[in-house]
């Protein structure tokens, strides 16, 4: 390298120092990141979701340090101090106390005298866990099916598309209820695979399964489009096997789509879980979720509205947060994206 300051004849000086970075090419990821950063609203809602998750994860802390009770402990005949007065947690006529500024029962109590705040946090863990796990299942199968169908086309594609049609055609709620109730009694037993009737995995599998077509179709569409592109044809011509092509050429270009769908899918899963749990076909005791809390509170819409309002609010906030952030992600990753999830 010529000594700094030396002037090679006839050519302009090479840029040095900070300036070099300014003309480096920026990866699409970095650009996406910048776009996302500019979208304050999306970021705010994304943060909201993180806050909600942290809130729920903090359940044991709150339960031990502040409320001094577990989520399933009944306090039917106990009293607490509200504004200097000793009040029954559950009045003799069965009406529980509502939210207020007291460390115990911050959000009030339910019919069994359980602490709603604590249940909300623990229930949120279940709901979010189900939402995320089911999203993993959906994504895995949707990507697999979409890749295979889109890559091989022809016969394989026809068959797989029909399979998607079949899943799509199932009356979702009915299927969920029927499976949920039928499996809850004896559990699931397919060959070596055995799952207990009240395991969380039963609703997770059902919910994950149900949404596969919603994600698989758009992914298949994208793969079909990508398939035609030169770099893919080049890779195939180079003799790369299907798996390598899928992983090294196709999949990387799908990541943005996958990320967006994954995010939106979590929201849908949580909604479906609430519906199934309300019908008694989702989360089963002793587990509780926001869905089961709504079902339990539905008997007290008049005298203890907080029992339903609180979990409904949490679901609305979480779904809202995921959707707005997901939209923001979509806009950031692909500003001209034509991808849209059918639901």
């Amino acid at each position: 390298m010529p000594p700094a300051g030396a002037m090679p004849t006839g050519e302009p000086p090479l840029p040095v120092g900070d300036d070099v970075e300014m003309i480096e090419g920026r990866s699409p990821w970095y650009l996406a990141y910048i776009r996302l950063r500019r979208n304050k609203v999306a970021l705010a809602f994304g943060a909201l979701f993180i806050v909600i998750v942290l809130f729920c994860l903090a359940a044991p802390l709150w339960s031990h340090l502040v409320a001094h009770t577990g989520p399933n402990q009944n306090h039917l005949t106990e009293k607490i101090d509200i504004g200097g007065k000793e009040t029954f947690v559950v009045a003799p006529n069965g009406i529980p106390i509502g939210p207020g500024l007291h460390a115990k029962f911050l959000l009030g109590a339910d019919d069994n005298g359980r602490d709603v705040m604590v249940r909300l946090m623990y229930g949120g863990r279940t709901s979010i866990y189900i939402g995320v796990m089911a999203a993993f299942i959906t994504t895995f199968f949707a990507v697999a099916i979409g890749l295979i169908a889109g890559y091989y086309r022809g016969w394989t594609d026809s068959v797989l598309s029909r399979v998607l049609d079949v899943i799509w055609a199932f009356p979702v709620l009915l299927l969920g209820i029927a499976l949920g109730t039928a499996l809850s009694v004896g559990g699931l037993k397919i060959g070596p695979l055995e799952i207990a009737g009240n395991s969380l995995w039963i609703p997770i599998i059902i919910i994950g399964f149900v949404y596969v077509p919603y994600m698989a179709r758009p992914i298949r569409g994208e793969v079909l489009a990508l398939r035609e592109k030169e770099f893919v044809e080049a890779a195939i011509a180079q003799g790369k096997g299907p798996i390598r092509v899928m992983f090294s050429e196709l999949l990387p270009n799908l990541i943005s789509t996958i990320i967006v769908f994954f995010t939106l899918n979590i929201a849908n899963n949580m909604l479906l879980e609430a519906a199934l749990s309300f019908l008694g076909a989702g989360v089963r005791p002793p587990n509780s979720s926001w869905g089961t809390m709504i079902e339990e509170g539905s008997d007290r819409i008049v005298t203890a509205p907080h029992l339903t309002l609180v979990p409904v609010l949490m679901i609305v906030l979480t779904v809202l947060a995921l959707n707005v952030f997901g939209d923001g992600l979509r806009d950031a990753l692909n500003p001209k994206a034509k991808i849209r999830m059918e639901h």
């Binding site: 399933n72 402990q73 009944n74 006529n93 005791p285 005298t303």
Partner: protein, 549 residues
């Protein structure tokens, strides 16, 4: 029997859309209202059956007790009056032989069913035969009839112990042992005669048999609705001298199923519906008590709520462990779940039942004492399954009970089963892990043997359709049950005998009972509220409905 409420609220409010006064004899009062018109009511769960030989729930009996009249019946009235057995289709109370084994009835003359078929004496044994052919839950009540078990087992073509003469109307029933409850059992729906054209072994809920009561079922559309209309042939029964059977005031009663109990109560508030079979939900109760107190009231009911404890295997095969449970549960806490309508009690018999005495065997709740007892007993198996059904209040009861058991150191699994199949599930002895769970029992008739004989006698343990969920089989107490059963309630010392029996069972802690639920009555303002009758056996008396002027 049990109550099939689906989305039951805590309170068992029985909406009484009672109208007018129920005729018959003594009740006097009322009479304010007009004749005719229609009332419409709702029920949360359609009756299990509308077939008199099969129906075994409050919903069913409430619907059909004015449609099918047995040889004897329960007097129409309020409270205790309603537990008196009086003649129905029979001319009078039967002649009973001195040894208590032979009952002779005489059928009234000239009566017809709603379709014009004459009512015959042989229709009575036909009805009893149906009980066995249908494998009815009520069949065990009549096994004491000579030849009944032979018939049930297929060894005979008819029941040898019943002789019926269609010419004279005489019906003679031979029992295998004397019974203090047989009269009560003859007055149950199960023994209501039906025409012999009724299929012997098929449930007739969709096509109910012709009626002998003041109402007939003019339409049956399970599980959506059924309709009662005035039976045009009821005159023949009245003319034959049945003065204890009141005539209905309204022309038509429709009962429609609505799973949304809150909507049912709101419909009555808005006068869009006239009565509800079940209680308004606890959520609306304060509102209703305040705003509609002129058409709402509480009612007594004879029932006990309890937790059964499997006496045959660890850990509850140990009496100390069972006693621990009785010390640990808190009826006052459970009362909250019942919206304050529970009368806390840790006895087997409920108040209102002869032989009831307040119990103080397990003052508490005393968790320390309970834990001490368990430590002493040192049970080998602390892993238990707790059962309950899926009605909202039952789930809450289950959640409370599970919490209590957990605090005693048990490892519990809560199993929630659909209300429709809960009792058959826990009543099927081949179901695994039957450790403890929810149960209730509403009297079939006001006699303590309805509790002891059916729920706690060793011989009442059946492999399916079992009601003795604790599988209690204590030879000493079994003997006391059968002894007392042969006597009449009015005999000296019998009531005390039952009280002592209650105490003995509770000393053995075969159950963990916690109380008796009160009902309520709630009607629209179209209905003459003060005249609505509420029977302790059949609940709402539809024949007492009357529209206000």
């Amino acid at each position: 029997m049990r109550n099939l409420r689906k989305i039951a609220a805590l309170a068992m409010a029985t909406a009484l859309a009672a109208v007018g006064l129920a005729a018959c004899g003594d009740s006097g009062g009322g009479g304010g209202g007009k004749e005719g018109g229609e009332v419409a009511g709702t029920v949360t769960s359609f009756p299990d059956y509308l077939d008199p030989q099969l129906s075994y729930t409050l919903e069913g009996w409430e619907g059909i007790n004015n449609v099918y009249i047995p040889l004897l019946t329960y007097q129409h009235g309020n409270g205790e009056e309603s537990t008196k057995v009086v003649p129905g289709l029979a001319e009078s109370m039967p002649d009973i032989s001195p040894d208590g084994l032979t009952y002779t009835f005489t059928l009234r003359k000239g009566m017809k069913y709603s379709d014009g078929t004459p009512i015959k004496a042989s229709d009575f044994p036909y009805a009893i035969q149906r009980l066995f052919k249908l494998d009815s839950g009520g069949a065990p009540f009549y096994e004491a009839i000579a030849g009944a078990t032979d018939y049930a087992d297929g060894k005979a073509d008819s029941i040898s112990g019943i002789q019926a003469d269609d010419q004279t109307g005489k019906i003679v029933v031979q029992l295998e042992h004397s019974s203090g409850t047989f009269l009560n059992e003859v007055a149950l729906m199960f023994a209501a005669p039906v025409p012999q054209s009724t299929p012997l072994d098929k449930d007739q809920t969709s096509t109910p048999p012709p009626a002998s009561g003041t109402f007939m079922i003019s339409n049956s559309d399970p599980p959506n609705s059924y309709t009662l209309e005035k039976n045009p042939q009821f005159k023949t029964v009245q003319d034959a001298g049945a003065s204890d059977l009141p005539e209905a005031h309204v022309d038509k009663v429709t009962v429609t199923q609505n799973k949304n109990q809150s909507a049912q109560a709101q419909a009555i508030e808005q006068n869009q519906s006239d009565f509800m079979v079940d209680p308004p939900p606890a959520d609306l109760l304060p509102d209703i008590q305040n705003t509609y107190s002129d058409r709402f009231r509480f009612q007594e009911s004879i029932n006990t709520y309890y937790f059964w404890l499997n006496n045959t295997k660890p850990p509850f095969d140990n009496v100390q462990v069972r006693q621990a449970v009785n010390y640990a549960i808190d009826p006052a806490a459970l009362n909250r779940i019942f919206g304050g309508r529970l009368h806390p009690s840790q006895a087997i018999l409920p108040p209102g039942m002869p032989g009831y005495e307040e119990s103080n065997l397990y003052p508490g709740p005393d968790l320390e004492k309970a834990k001490a007892l368990i430590a002493q007993a040192h049970p080998s198996d602390m892993d238990i399954t707790v059962w309950t059904d899926d009605e909202p209040d039952r789930k809450r009861i289950g959640a409370y009970y599970q919490d209590v058991l957990n605090s005693l150191g048990f490892q519990t699994t809560l199993k929630i089963i659909g209300g429709d199949v809960y009792f058959t599930t826990i009543g099927n002895l081949s179901t695994p892990d039957l450790d403890t769970g929810f149960a209730d029992w509403f009297q079939d008739y006001p006699h303590p043997n309805d509790f002891f004989g059916i729920l706690l006698a060793g011989e009442s343990i059946h492999p399916t359709n079992n009601q003795n969920f604790s599988q209690t089989d204590i030879p000493d107490l079994n003997k006391q049950i059968s002894d007392l059963d042969t006597k009449q309630l009015t005999d000296p010392g019998v009531e005390d005998g039952y009280a002592a029996l209650d105490k003995s069972f509770m000393e053995q802690a075969v159950w963990a009972p916690y109380g008796n639920e009160k009902f309520t009555t709630f009607t629209s303002d179209r209905v003459a509220f003060d005249d609505v009758l509420f029977s302790l056996v059949f609940n709402l008396d539809y024949s007492s409905f009357q529209l206000t002027d």
